[in-house]
Amino acid sequence: MLNPGATLLLDKTLETRAAYWESRIKTYGFQRVTGLSLFEMTMPGEGIESLGRAFCSMGDAGVAFHLVCSRASSQGLEVLLLAPAQFTKVIEEHLQEIAEGAGVVSGRTLASEMVFFQGPHFGDRYGIVDTTLRALAAKRIQMTAMACSGSCIYLVVPEGRSEEAVLALSDVFEIPKAVSHKRSVPAG
C-alpha cells in the first residue's frame, strides 16, 4: 500500500516518468567503413541554393554518401560530406564550382574512416555521446567529426584509426555476442 505522501503525489501528477539505463550501455554492434574521403567546407549561408544544386548534380552523377551534416558558424555554414574515396575527384570538381560561384571561405579533403552504431532507445537517452568520447579519449584516439541523429552515432576518424576506435568503444559498450565487433564494410 502506498503511503499518504505518495498517494498525494500520484493524485497531483498524472505523468509517468521512466528512464532506460544500464551500467554498460548495450549496442547492436559496431560497423566500420574504410576507404572514405571527408570533405569539409565553410560557405556563406546565402550559398545554400548553390550547395543544393551541387548535391543534385553529384546525385545525378551517382555519388553515394555515408554521412552529410552541417552546422552554423560565424562565417556561414560548416558542411561535412563523407563519401567513398572513389568519388573524390568528381566531388572536388563540383565543390570547386561552388567555390567559384558561392564564395566558399575554406575547404579541405581528408582520408577518413567511419564507425557507426546504434542501440536501444539511443535517440531518447542521455549519456551516449559522453560515453563514446570518453572511450576514445582513454585510448588517445582523436575524432575528426561526430554526428548523432535519430538513433545513430557516427564517428569519423583519420584513415587507419577505425579499428582502434572500435576496440576502444568495445571496452565501454556492450555488444551482442552474435555480432562481430570487427565487422568492416569497404566503401563503395
Partner: protein, 161 residues
C-alpha cells in the same frame, strides 16, 4: 516540369534549444566536461554535430527547452565554456525520410529552402532521415517548402508533428 524524388514522410521534433560553440573552439577536455555535465543532469541531446579543426572542437546540439536552465547552470560553472557557448531558442528539427543515401534528396531540399530564403542552422543525415534545424518561427515555411519539394502534401497522414 519540376523534378521531385519520392519521400515517404516528414517528422517534427519541437520545443528545443540549440546549444552551440561556433565562434570559438573548445579543448577536448572542455567538450568532455560539458558532455559529462549533460549526463549527470540526465539531459538528452536530440541532435549532436561536432567537428575538430586545427583550433579545437566546435559543435551544435539540440536539447529540450525544459532542460535549458540546467544546461545554462552547468556551463556557467565552467568559465571557459560559458565564454563560448551560445543558446538559441526556440528551434525545431524537421526530418524527411527516407533519403536512401541519395544526395539529390538533400540537394532538392537545400535548393528549395534556399530559394524560399528559409534560415537553416544546420542539417544532418542518419540511416534514414535528413534532419534540418530551423527556427521555430520558420517551421511552417520550412515544412511547406519541403512538402512541396517532395510532393508530401498529397498524403498528410505520413506527416507527423
Amino acid at each position: 516540369m519540376k523534378e521531385t524524388i519520392p519521400m515517404e514522410g516528414m517528422k517534427v521534433s519541437g520545443d528545443l534549444v540549440r546549444v552551440s560553440v561556433a565562434d570559438a573552439s573548445l579543448t577536448e577536455e572542455l567538450l568532455t566536461g560539458f558532455l559529462k555535465g549533460l549526463t549527470e543532469n540526465r539531459v538528452n541531446m536530440s541532435l549532436f554535430i561536432g567537428g575538430k579543426g586545427s583550433g579545437g572542437v566546435q559543435f551544435t546540439c539540440c536539447v529540450a527547452a525544459s532542460d535549458q536552465d540546467r544546461v545554462k547552470t552547468l556551463t556557467e560553472a565552467i568559465p571557459d565554456l560559458k565564454a563560448c557557448v551560445e543558446f538559441c531558442s526556440p528551434v525545431d528539427l524537421l526530418s524527411v525520410f527516407p533519403h536512401q543515401f541519395n544526395l539529390k534528396a538533400l540537394g532538392l531540399s537545400l535548393m528549395a529552402l534556399g530559394k524560399a530564403r528559409t534560415p537553416l542552422h544546420g542539417f544532418c543525415s542518419s540511416l534514414s532521415a535528413l534532419t534540418f534545424i530551423t527556427d521555430h518561427a520558420d517551421l511552417g515555411q520550412a515544412s511547406s517548402v519541403l512538402q512541396g519539394a517532395f510532393n508530401l502534401q498529397k498524403d498528410p497522414s505520413r506527416t507527423v508533428c
